[in-house]
């Protein structure tokens, strides 16, 4: 699609940048010193850092990464359960990111599924849940799937379960989480800690492709601050910033959709139907954040026979003792600290040897900053030359 190239156009970026500066200036004259806008998607943070968007923002506009990486917030206990089972001969399927995710505590000498595999554990990395289904059906082995993800990933589990495609020997270890409750949690935390409050929500485009815009509209009205559902190209995000600044200027709340080419108000109706059939909403632990009410998905009805927690008598994570000592991932996930403010960042914790969970996934804030130098020299240079 040639049209999509427009979303990286230099010419348009300059024009949109001028609009951002105009609105920021108008808000400054109304007494706004800092306008903090928080994203809730690792891909938004990736785009922000990869394209140096922070360097294009006027001094008043601060783009902050909130909880938006499902790998980072998967409780350590889920990983520990998976490691233990893999070393006991149960095949563990998962995605590549979760394969490298370190647990807080070692289990029989392994801190991650990667290490468990090196010690002889049965661990298989797959592209999709369907690949695991095909493999488990063919091999007939006792198996679990470490099911991480947000609303975007949930249909990939729900549809095969609802359609009866999952063999009896494959169980689900659900670490599925819902984004709006965590967004509320992070936004309220800035207020509780007396920090600069969040003024606008950059809502996740692919989560909203499934859920629709409505949950963000509800959250926006509850918290009294605007939300814009954004796409993932650099100009998507820049335009979303303008839309948010305009809403703040006009005192508007509610959700507006920038990512119109994919997001509708009602979302993916078919996927939502299957998710509601297979899962029920529950209180759930987020790594480093503790238990957040109504923020998880657990199997329900006839589908509990696929529940790995039930099958193996595994403890449900309670969110305690979830971070390795010295690691500031909890604050980074909540948008309360930048990766560079963690004493371990790029010292003992690097992309090749991650110590904390935010350094693992390509969508973890620390991993993104490590790869592309977020908050570093590029931003300073951009400011010095007046960008």
């Amino acid at each position: 699609m040639r049209e999509l190239e427009l979303y990286r156009s230099h010419e348009l970026a300059g024009k949109i940048g001028r609009l951002i500066r105009k609105y920021a200036s108008a808000l400054r004259s109304r007494g706004f010193k800092i306008i903090k806008l928080m994203n809730f998607c690792g891909t938004h943070e990736w785009t922000t850092v990869h394209y140096g968007l922070r360097g294009l923002m006027p001094r008043e506009v601060e783009l902050v990464a909130g909880p938006g990486c499902p790998v980072c917030i998967t409780p350590s206990l889920c990983v520990e359960h998976a490691i233990k089972l893999s070393l006991e001969g149960v095949t563990v399927y998962t995605f590549g990111d979760a394969f490298r995710l370190p647990a807080t505590r070692e289990v029989r000498g392994a801190r991650s599924l990667r290490e468990a595999k090196a010690l002889g554990g049965s661990v298989r990395v797959v592209y999709s849940f369907m690949d695991a289904i095909r493999d488990a059906a063919k091999r007939g082995c006792e198996a679990i799937f470490l099911a991480i993800g947000f609303e975007t990933t949930a249909p990939g589990y729900a549809i095969p379960l609802a359609r009866g495609l999952v063999p009896k020997n494959l169980k689900l270890l659900s670490a599925l989480r819902l984004t709006p409750p965590a967004a509320r949690h992070a936004i309220l935390a800035t207020v509780e800690r007396g920090l600069e409050p969040v003024r606008g929500i950059i809502a996740p485009g692919h989560v909203s492709t499934v859920t629709g815009a409505e949950p963000w509209d509800r959250l926006s009205r509850e918290l009294g601050l605007p939300a814009v559902i954004s796409g993932f190209e650099p100009l998507d995000l820049m335009l979303s910033v303008v839309m948010l600044l305009r809403m703040i200027y006009l005192g508007r709340v509610g959700a507006e959709v920038e990512y119109r080419r994919l997001v509708t108000w009602e979302g993916n109706v078919l996927a939502k139907k299957f998710i509601n059939e297979v899962f029920q909403v529950s209180d759930a632990a987020w790594r480093g954040l503790g238990v957040i009410p109504d923020s998880g998905l657990e199997l329900t009805g006839p589908y509990v026979k696929y529940d790995a927690y039930r099958e193996y008598g595994l403890k449900i994570p309670d969110g305690r003792e979830d971070m390795p000592s010295g690691c500031r991932c909890a604050d980074v996930i909540m948008g309360l600290a930048k990766p560079v403010e963690c004493p371990l960042f790029m010292k003992v914790c690097t992309p090749s040897r991650p110590y904390g969970p935010c350094m693992v996934s390509s969508e973890g804030t620390c991993a993104i900053w490590a790869r592309f130098g977020g908050g570093g020299l590029a931003d300073k240079v951009a400011r010095e030359v007046g960008l």
Binding site: E3, K15, C41, F129, M130, G149, P155, T209, L270
Partner: protein, 99 residues
């Protein structure tokens, strides 16, 4: 993790479809949205089609930009006036971007 990759649907086979990501990369994926047809542009996440790209909205960004720009360009609060200026901005952009 919520990475979504655009692809074109080559063939729909029941619950699954073959999609083309470009560059010779084709994969079998699960159809996770209603009404997927051959030729559709879709977004694939973790082996599942989660949404169809509404190609008619592909240039929506220009309209949004033009409206925001028009609002700042005029002191008039008349929606008709903003609309008129926005249309003009879209036309100019289309011309300068060679659309």
């Amino acid at each position: 993790m919520c990475w979504g990759v655009p692809a074109r649907v080559v063939e729909v086979k029941g619950l699954e479809a073959i999609v083309d990501f470009g560059g010779g990369v084709r994969r079998r994926v699960l159809v996770g949205v209603s009404g997927v047809r051959e030729g559709d542009v879709v977004v694939v996440h973790a082996g599942v089609i989660i949404g169809k790209v509404r190609t008619e909205e592909a240039l929506a960004m220009l309209e949004v930009y033009a409206k925001l720009s028009a609002e700042l360009a005029t002191d008039s609060s008349s929606p008709e006036e903003v609309e008129r200026i926005a249309k003009k901005i879209v036309e100019e952009l289309r011309h300068s971007l060679g659309l």
